[in-house]
Structure formats: structure tokens, C-alpha cells
């Protein structure tokens, strides 16, 4: 305990946090512009007639054409974060707008969006504008060359959690013993230069599986330990660029590469800041004022520490919530999201919904393309919470269109990691009678196989 207290009293240059803030802001701005320029705002949020919501957050919906404004607000706040102008408000607006965007439709759920959300939440509590920011330039009361070390430590901790948990998730028999799903994915990447024709080899698929798991589990420690740090960073770049080449994972590799710079000593960050100040021709000497971050009043600090400790407790515990559910996690996906399970499954499905008029006995199948975009249909067809939400939507839709008393059944086939597709949902169950909850969905049929491991 006393060592923890003394850790909280240690000081460190503020430069690493400033560099992190700048790169984070640039990455976010780039992500948002990229997202917009690909036409994804329209395609993913405005085109769908129906959006898949998170349980309990059904009120979060795309805002029609105002969605563009939301992206503009989010982008401006990312820019303000970068330059450190009105930082606290900017990062709060960024956190809220970005998180809102990600919650509008869970079809687009990505672990790296979740990462950005919680990272921006954490940044809310850090004095990332203490140096090398517009705020600090014009307000010497918040201009500090040194800040408590833990402010940088928490960012490292979050990155370590992401990697380590992603590594733990790979410790299962499909990944390690069957090299699944890489055995499916890699052979189709034969056109990648240099290594393309090796990707069809079984040993290569095993090497990638084991290498990937080892990388995720070890990299936090290699980055934390000074003698291995440079080598570890080489691995970080290598690994993420490789994943970028092999898989369509957007901005995630760049964000992770840039974030990993935080592990280096302050001296490197100071050099980066010198380069930036030369690039934009401004004098950074004003920030080298030798001043130490003034602690906030004790009650404010207490609240801040409590929130941060709670935050990390949740981060450490949340990925294990799947243990509370029966059945195979990969199959039911109960407790799958928000747990750093990245690129773990080749899972796809086919779902055909049957609407029955309980009064007349008349029935028909739904053409999913009438209601869903191809992306939504793809994601819906193997995730039970999507299936249930869609079934309820269908029931409501047909109720409004003349079939007052209807029942909805689904014929759903799902294939997981190279196994033959199996019936996924009990076809005898009327989904209109089932309620969404955090409890186990007992209408998911059993997996009838075993994936050993974490």
C-alpha cells in the first residue's frame, strides 16, 4: 500500500502524455475523415431502415442528416484535443460523441472503437494539456513540465490489458491446436507479396497462431522492460503492419503502433516535440518551466482516484463475465464483446425468419433484404441478440401491417471455425415470446462440440 502511495507521488515529464494526446487526436481525426470519405456514414448509419441497438441503450439511434453534424463535432473535438485547446471540454465532447456514434448500431461493433471510447474516457482525467498545448501556452497556471507519473502509467496499463487479454483469449484449442481460424483465412491471402505462397502451408498457419498468441501475451512485458523495449517496438510495428496487410482492419494497426510510443522514456518524447515545434515553427521553451503539477484539492483527487480504480477494476473483470454463462462462448457469444476477443473466429450464418399468423395459420418467410443492409444481415445471422431484436422488429412491423397476432420463428444455420454448419436457434421457439436480458438465452441450441481453454 505504501509503495502504491509513493507511486502516486512520483513525478515524470509531461512530454509523453502530450505526445500521446497529439497522436491520439490526429489518429481520431484521420479515422473520422476516412470514415466519412468512404461514404460509411450514409452506408452504415443512414441507409438502414432499422438499427441494432445495445440492450438498455435503445434510445441511441442515428440522427438522420444530423448524424453528419455529430461527426463534425466529433472531428472538431479531436482536432482541439490535438492542439490542446480547451482540452477538458474537447476530450469530454470527443468521448461523448464518439461513444454515441459507436452505440448507434451494434452491427459496426469493433473492439478498436471500444478501445477508443474507453481511452478517451481515461484521458478525461489526465492533464494531457499540461505541456505543449494551446491551453498551457496561454495559461501558466496549468502549465507544468512535470506531472504525476501515474498519469502515464494508466495509459500503459490500459494498453497492456488490451494486449494481454487478447492473448489470453487465444489460449483455446481451436486457435492453438487446430490453427483456426487462420487456417481458413491465410490460404486466401496468396496474393500478398513475398510471403503469399507460404500462407497456404500448414506450418505457417500454426506459426502465425502461436506467434500471435505469444506476441499478445509477451509484448506488454517486453515494452515495459527497458532492455527489450526497442526490440518490442519493432515487433509492434511488424505485427500490426502484417495484420494490416492480411486483414481489413482499418485504423486499428496505426492506432496501436502510435500508442505504443508511450512506453518509451520522456527523452524520446521531448525529441518528438522538438521536431513538431520546428515543423510548425513555434517556440516550445515556454513549456520548459520546471514546474510541478499542483495537486487538486484532496476531495477532487479522491473522486478522481476512485473513478480510475473502479475503471480498471471493471476493465480487468469485465472480460471474464462470460464465465457466468453456460455453453461455449464462441457459439453463444454471451459475454463476447468488450473483451478484446479480436479476430478469433470464422463464424458465419444464415437466418430465415418465418412469420406465422396465429389466427389463420397462414405463414411466410421474410426476405431479409427488405429490411436489412447486407452488412446487417451478415452480422445478424450468427449473433443471438441480433436475431432476437430483429425478430421483435419483424413482429412489430407485421403487426402494424395487418397481422395482429403473429409468431416469429427462425431457421438459422451457423458455421464456426471450419465446422459444418449446425442449427443455431431452436426453430420451434416463438421469438416474440422471448425477452432480451443479460440472462442466458436457452433457445440457443447446444454447440455439440468442445473448444477447450480460456
Amino acid at each position: 500500500m505504501s509503495s502504491l502511495v509513493s507511486y502516486f507521488n512520483k513525478y515524470e515529464e509531461a512530454a509523453p502524455l502530450a505526445v500521446f494526446r497529439i497522436f491520439f487526436g490526429i489518429m481520431m481525426l484521420w479515422s473520422l475523415i476516412r470514415f466519412w470519405s468512404y461514404g460509411w456514414i450514409e452506408k452504415l448509419y443512414l441507409t438502414p431502415k432499422f438499427n441494432f441497438s445495445y440492450y438498455g441503450l435503445e434510445w441511441i439511434k442515428p440522427l438522420g442528416d444530423w448524424t453528419y453534424l455529430l461527426f463534425i463535432i466529433c472531428g472538431i473535438s479531436a482536432l482541439l484535443v490535438t492542439i490542446g485547446y480547451k482540452y477538458r471540454i474537447a476530450i469530454l465532447v470527443f468521448f461523448l460523441s464518439f461513444t454515441y456514434i459507436e452505440l448507434m448500431d451494434k452491427t459496426t461493433y469493433l473492439n478498436h472503437y471500444y478501445f477508443v471510447s474507453i481511452l478517451s474516457f481515461l484521458l478525461l482525467f489526465l492533464p494531457a494539456n499540461a505541456t505543449f498545448s494551446v491551453d498551457a501556452k496561454y495559461n501558466k497556471d496549468i502549465r507544468f513540465q512535470y506531472i504525476p507519473k501515474w498519469n502515464i502509467g494508466v495509459l500503459k496499463l490500459l494498453l497492456c490489458i488490451v494486449y494481454f487479454y487478447a492473448g489470453l483469449a487465444k489460449l483455446n484449442s481451436d486457435w492453438l491446436l487446430d490453427a483456426m481460424p487462420l487456417k481458413i483465412w491465410l490460404p486466401s491471402k496468396f496474393s500478398v507479396p513475398l510471403i503469399g505462397n507460404l500462407l497456404g502451408k500448414e506450418w505457417m498457419q500454426y506459426a502465425f497462431s502461436w506467434g500471435g498468441a505469444a506476441y499478445d501475451l509477451c509484448i506488454p512485458f517486453l515494452l515495459l522492460y527497458k532492455p527489450t523495449r526497442k526490440l518490442a517496438f519493432v515487433f509492434v510495428v511488424l505485427f500490426h503492419v502484417l495484420t494490416r496487410v492480411l486483414f481489413p482492419i482499418g485504423m486499428f494497426p496505426y492506432i496501436m503502433i502510435v500508442s505504443a510510443i508511450i512506453f518509451f522514456d520522456a527523452s524520446l518524447h521531448k525529441r518528438i516535440l522538438v521536431v513538431i515545434s520546428k515543423l510548425f515553427r513555434f517556440n516550445k521553451t515556454v513549456f520548459d518551466n520546471q514546474s510541478y503539477y499542483k495537486p487538486k484539492p484532496i476531495t477532487v483527487n479522491k473522486i478522481k482516484y476512485t473513478i480510475i480504480i473502479l475503471f480498471f477494476t471493471v476493465q480487468l473483470a469485465f472480460p471474464w463475465r462470460y464465465l457466468l454463462y453456460p455453453g461455449e462462448l464462441f457459439w453463444t457469444e454471451e459475454g463476447y464483446r468488450f473483451s478484446w476477443r479480436v479476430m478469433l473466429m470464422e463464424k458465419s450464418g444464415y437466418a430465415q425468419f418465418k412469420i406465422v399468423d396465429n389466427n389463420s395459420g397462414r405463414w411466410f418467410y421474410v426476405d431479409n433484404t427488405d429490411f436489412l443492409t447486407p452488412f446487417q444481415e451478415k452480422q445478424m445471422s450468427f449473433q443471438p441478440d441480433f436475431i432476437l431484436e430483429y425478430a421483435h422488429f419483424l413482429s412489430k412491423h407485421f403487426k402494424e401491417n395487418g397481422i395482429e397476432n403473429n409468431a416469429v420463428y427462425v431457421y438459422c444455420q451457423v458455421a464456426l471455425n471450419g465446422r459444418l454448419s449446425k442449427t443455431y436457434i431452436d426453430p420451434e421457439i416463438d421469438l416474440t415470446k422471448q425477452k432480451e436480458s443479460f440472462e442466458h438465452k436457452n433457445w440457443i441450441l447446444p454447440f455439440k462440440d468442445e473448444i477447450k481453454g480460456i
Binding site: W40, K43, H112, F190, S191, V192, M251, R362
Partner: protein, 377 residues
């Protein structure tokens, strides 16, 4: 140390900068066995031994239809009518073998939409005949042309052949009908010609050399089109919609070749057989097989549940064919049974191939279905 630690980074960036988002460059194979399945060989087999010969045969069928029409318009008698009708049916059967190849030239020509939209819009058709003022290339006329329109003119106008021959020779609208029929056939020939030319010309190489594995590569795109065809045009169009499985009430008027009545099963079975032959890489009009989706699956060694996936898919096709063969004509199945239980259970067997293709096969081949342009993680 300081100088060398970034060398791997440069190496990786070199790999990365060489690999565009679309991939697709061919790479030198080792001298010995191909390390991965040769997609190029499969594409060549599709193009040279299946797609092009099927199109050429179809083009010949249309030429024969044109000949039969010319003969009939010269001498309008019962025999020539029977021959014309047979030529129409032969071409219709030929069409079933090319309808699935809606990629490249056929896709840009919208061949399927122009050839076989049914049911025909009889009101529109008759008003076209009557006015003699129509442009068959307009999308608005798609419901009044192609095989379904000819079906109406040859099988739906009169109750028997004698009256039909009379209608075409001495009826008040005889000339107009004949002109329209001739225009319909010419339209089909004009649409098909460029598609065949294109496959005989440049498009073949465009198709075959695009042998990568990106979403725009030939295999990925065609497999998507192939499954789309199976689901939408074969399963739903020929059986599901007439059965009312998407609407809740049967719609016998939506049966393919509605007026001919007794050939809908045959058309369906021809199309299903063509799908299965394509899946197995069977050369057109031959028992030889080449590289195919089936051999690709074998190569990927997707042995599951004791049975190979290619075998499971073939078994399902066979089961579906068996069930449909045992049916009466679709029209009598639907009109004489309420509900049409036998046809519904045959439909179920046709349906069961969909998840096998769309889930199991596609996942084994690592092809993304309905290419979704978004990030993954």
C-alpha cells in the same frame, strides 16, 4: 544496434507498400506442386469449358428460333407452329444454362432482366402489339419481352393450335402479332451477340487473370453472383414465389412458362443441373470435369462430420432434383393442392443447399458474402 533495429520495419513497409488494398497481382509459383489451389486454372475452366460454350450454344438456339420464326411467317401452318414452339422451348432450356453467368458483359447488358422477367405483363404486351409503337430496349418494356412474352404469344393467345395458326394468318391483328414476335426474337439475339463476342474476345482474359482473392477478384465476385442466382432466381423465382413462401399465398401466375404449363419443372431442373455441373466444373455437353468449386473444397481439405463438404453439397442437389422430379407440373401442384405439401417439401430440399453454399462453402473458401466494405477486427 541503433542503426539496425529499424531494418525489419523497412522490410515490412516494403511488403505493405507493394500490397495494394485490392491485391490481385499474380505471384510466381514454385516449380513443384502448387502450394495453394490454383484459382486461375479454375477460372480458365469456367470460362473456356463452361461459360463460353454454354453461351455459344445458347446463341445457336436463338438463331434456330429465328429460323423457325422465319419459316413460320412464310408458311403459317400447324407443323411450323409446333416447330417454332419447340425452338422457343429449346432456347428457353439453353437460357437456363447461362442465366447464372450474370457477370461482366451479361451484367452490363442486364441480360437476365431483359431475357426472362416473368410473369409477362399481358396488358402492356397487348398494347405494344396494338400500337406497334414500342422500344424494346427501354427498361419499362422488360415485362413485355423475352421468353415469357413469347410464351404468351405462342401458348396463351388461343386455346388450340388451329385457332392460333388462324390468328397469325388471318386474324385482324395477324401482322402486328407477327411483327412483335419477330422483334422479340431479334431483341434477344441482339442482346446476346455482344455478350458472346465479349467472352470470345477480351473479357475472357480479364476474367481469368483476375485470379486474386480480394473482394473484386473474379472468384469472389462470381461466387457471390452464383449464390445470389441460386437463392433469388432458382429457389425463389422458380419455386418460392409461386408457392407463396414469401407472401403467404400461392401465386401460380408467377410460374415460369405459365402458358406452356407443362415445362416449368423441366426448366427448373435444367437450371439446377446447370448449377450443379458448374459447381463440379463439368464441361459443357461433356462428362469431363475440371477445376471447380468442388475441387477447390477438396483441396482445402474441408472434411467435416465425416463427409466432405463438396459431397454434402452434391447430395443436397441430388436430393432436391429427386424431389422436384417426382412432382407433377408446378401449376397443377399449386392449383390442385392446398397447401401444396409435396412441392413445399421439395422446396425445402432446394432451400437446404443455400446455407451449405452461403455459410459452409463460402466460409471454407474465405470469400466474403455480399462484399461489405467496412472494417473488421
Amino acid at each position: 544496434m541503433k542503426k539496425f533495429w529499424f531494418l525489419p520495419i523497412i522490410a515490412v513497409i516494403a511488403i505493405w507498400s507493394c500490397s495494394s488494398d485490392n491485391g490481385g497481382e499474380d505471384m510466381g509459383m514454385d516449380d513443384d506442386v502448387a502450394l495453394t489451389f490454383d484459382r486461375g486454372a479454375m477460372l480458365a475452366n469456367w470460362a473456356d469449358n463452361i461459360i463460353l460454350p454454354s453461351y455459344q450454344s445458347y446463341e445457336a438456339d436463338l438463331a434456330a428460333l429465328k429460323d423457325a420464326f422465319d419459316t413460320f411467317s412464310t408458311v403459317k401452318d400447324a407443323q411450323n407452329l409446333v416447330d417454332l414452339r419447340q425452338a422457343w422451348l429449346d432456347a428457353y432450356i439453353g437460357w437456363q444454362k447461362v442465366s447464372m453467368f450474370e457477370i461482366g458483359p451479361a451484367e452490363s447488358a442486364g441480360l437476365r432482366l431483359n431475357m426472362n422477367i416473368y410473369p409477362a405483363d399481358v396488358t402492356l404486351l397487348e398494347s405494344n402489339v396494338d400500337s406497334g409503337n414500342y422500344d424494346l430496349s427501354l427498361p419499362s418494356n422488360r415485362d413485355a419481352k423475352g421468353f415469357p412474352a413469347i410464351d404468351y404469344l405462342l401458348n396463351g393467345l388461343e386455346a388450340d393450335d388451329t385457332s392460333l395458326v388462324n390468328r397469325f394468318s388471318t386474324g385482324a391483328d395477324a401482322d402486328k402479332l407477327l411483327v412483335y414476335l419477330g422483334d422479340l426474337i431479334d431483341d434477344m439475339i441482339q442482346l446476346t451477340g455482344p455478350v458472346v463476342d465479349s467472352w470470345e474476345g477480351d473479357y475472357r482474359d480479364t476474367f481469368v487473370t483476375n485470379d486474386g482473392s480480394s473482394a473484386t477478384a473474379s472468384v469472389d465476385r462470381f461466387v457471390n453472383d452464383f449464390i445470389f442466382y441460386y437463392e433469388r432466381f432458382l429457389r425463389a423465382g422458380k419455386m418460392g414465389i409461386p408457392l407463396g413462401v414469401f407472401s403467404g399465398s400461392t401465386a401460380p401466375n408467377t410460374i415460369e412458362a405459365f402458358y406452356k404449363e407443362d415445362v416449368s419443372n423441366q426448366l427448373f431442373l435444367t437450371a439446377l443441373q446447370a448449377v450443379q455441373d458448374f459447381f463440379n466444373g463439368k464441361h459443357f455437353n461433356s462428362s469431363t470435369t475440371g477445376e471447380s468449386l468442388a475441387s477447390y473444397l477438396v483441396d482445402l481439405n474441408t472434411l467435416k462430420d465425416g463427409a466432405a463438404l463438396n459431397q454434402l453439397i452434391n447430395n443436397q442437389f441430388n436430393e432436391a432434383k429427386g424431389r422436384v422430379t417426382a412432382l407433377d407440373t408446378f401449376r397443377s401442384e399449386i392449383e390442385n393442392n392446398n397447401p401444396p405439401t409435396n412441392m413445399l417439401s421439395a422446396y425445402d430440399e432446394v432451400q437446404k443447399a443455400v446455407p451449405l453454399l452461403k455459410v459452409d462453402m463460402v466460409s471454407a473458401l474465405s470469400i466474403s458474402i455480399d462484399f461489405v466494405d467496412a472494417d473488421g477486427d
